[in-house]
């Protein structure tokens, strides 16, 4: 429509990661990006308020997110029989066929639950595999691993069709809860001593924070390696007899290069870490849905 050239469109993508909400707002006018802002929100209330404001400012807004539940997957066919073979009940799922070759499915219950979870209308709900699928260029014996703070999503392609997909969650040890607190009586406190103790405590806390972060990172890397081991084993045992050429890690949490070395050493596989903008990819998918 002629008017569309003069009207701003807001593409909003968000997802929950480690109890925080990451949101990207892109303002587009006449197919040109005129404003982009990324935010990290602490709770759902903030997210709802921000989206409410954007909705009021931009009547042409498109909100998109993806499903993070485990009850979703890929089937290397669009045929219902293939679902029946895999003992997936068609009536309990919602599936979409991609290029008439393969399909993504999600549990109907999870889809409805996600819609009800927010008081705003989500225009596009994608499978978590969709952003990976749209990004993946080489799709023959390639494994793509999307890493979020609390989730690992794996999809493996053979002859341009995803034949294997898996979702697993990263469990983190709650180190902060291990700190016992000493209770002192007020009259026992010596001010000078207290201040010097505070400074020491602060320095100790900083060190502890750093070591906690390192520990968390190592835990994540360990879990990624373990998940990959399990997935590769499963892949070779049940899905393909061909060798995987490469693992592409789609990094959204700034992992660093250690994981690359670990995969090479532990799994003996060629791999590559790619900085992945998941929110931007979601917005690209949304734009594809409305042909912008």
């Amino acid at each position: 429509m002629f008017l569309e050239r003069f009207i701003k469109k807001a593409f909003i993508s968000f997802y929950e990661d480690d109890s925080k909400y990451k949101i990207l707002i892109e303002i587009i006018k006449n197919d040109k990006l005129i404003e982009s802002q990324i935010k990290e929100l602490n709770d759902k209330k903030e997210l709802k308020e921000l989206i409410k404001e954007i909705k009021e400012d931009y009547p042409q807004h498109y909100i998109s997110t993806f499903l993070q539940t485990i009850n979703q997957g890929v089937v290397p066919s669009c045929n219902k029989q293939e679902y029946l073979k895999r003992e997936i009940e068609i009536e309990n799922i919602n599936y979409i066929c991609i290029k008439n070759r393969y399909s993504f499915f999600v549990s109907m219950y999870d889809l409805v639950k996600l819609k009800k979870e927010y008081n705003f209308n989500i225009d596009f709900i994608f499978s978590i595999f969709a952003p990976i699928d749209i990004y993946a260029k080489k799709k023959d014996n390639y494994m793509y691993v999307l890493i979020l703070n609390n989730q690992i999503t794996i999809i493996a392609y053979k002859e341009n069709i995803p034949i294997y997909a898996d979702i697993s969650f990263i469990e983190k040890n709650k180190i902060s809860q291990e700190e016992p607190e000493d209770v002192e009586l007020l009259e026992d406190i010596d001010i000078e001593e207290e201040i010097s103790e505070d400074i020491e405590e602060e320095a100790e806390n900083m060190e502890l924070e750093e070591s906690k972060n390192d520990l968390e990172k190592t835990e994540t890397e360990f879990q990624i390696i373990e998940t990959l081991k399990k997935s590769i084993k499963e892949y070779y045992e049940h899905y393909s007899d061909d060798f995987l050429e490469k693992i592409i890690l789609l990094d959204t949490i700034e992992m660093g290069d250690t994981i690359k070395k670990l995969i090479e050493d532990e799994l003996l596989m060629d791999n590559e870490i790619v900085k992945f903008d998941l929110l931007k990819t979601l917005n690209s998918l949304a734009k594809g849905e409305i042909n912008v």
Binding site: Q60, I98, L111, D123
Partner: protein, 173 residues
């Protein structure tokens, strides 16, 4: 198409923008209508003006023609008045003349001109004429000449030529 859901149809404008646009379009519509009204009015006014101009031209022509007629009528009126005055004068002159004629003298005819009077008539005697008629004629005219012709019964036909000074003549029978 990767989405499990379809986007709802979006409005192009905010609610307050919609209201604002409605008022804007109403005012534009009113402006345009008023402009059209003025255009039509001006068109008809131009037409009316042209037709009036034509009427004025026609009326001007009529006025000039009427002025001519008026002039003619004025001339005719003057002429008529002149004629009336002259007729009245002539009438008076004839009355005076007829009053001049004594009973014994009979007039056959007379020619009354601007500066002359010629009288043809019959008188029983030259003396009757010379006593009763000649004196008043001589008192009026500067020159009076009478020619007598005796008829078989002894009476006289006469022709009296009386002239005033000047030669312009206008004859009346």
């Amino acid at each position: 198409m990767y989405s499990f859901t379809k986007a709802k149809k979006k409005n192009y404008f905010k609610e307050d923008t919609k209201l604002w646009l409605i008022f804007y379009f109403i005012s534009v519509f009113l402006y345009v209508s008023f402009a059209l009204f003025l255009l039509v009015k001006s068109y008809f006014y131009t037409k009316y003006y042209q037709s009036n101009n034509q009427n004025i031209m026609i009326l001007n022509t009529k006025i000039s023609s009427l002025s001519l007629q008026k002039e003619n009528i004025k001339l005719q009126k003057t002429l008529y008045e002149n004629i009336m005055v002259k007729n009245s004068l002539i009438k008076d002159s004839i009355k005076n003349l007829l009053d001049l004629i004594p009973d014994p003298i009979t007039l056959n005819k007379f020619l009354l001109k601007k500066n002359s009077l010629i009288i043809y008539g019959i008188t029983p005697t030259k003396d009757v004429y010379n006593l009763l008629m000649l004196p008043p004629l001589e008192s009026i005219f500067s020159n009076t000449k009478t020619i007598f012709y005796q008829m078989p019964n002894g009476w006289y036909k006469f022709k009296s030529i009386n002239t005033l000074k000047g030669n312009n003549e206008t004859a009346f029978n």
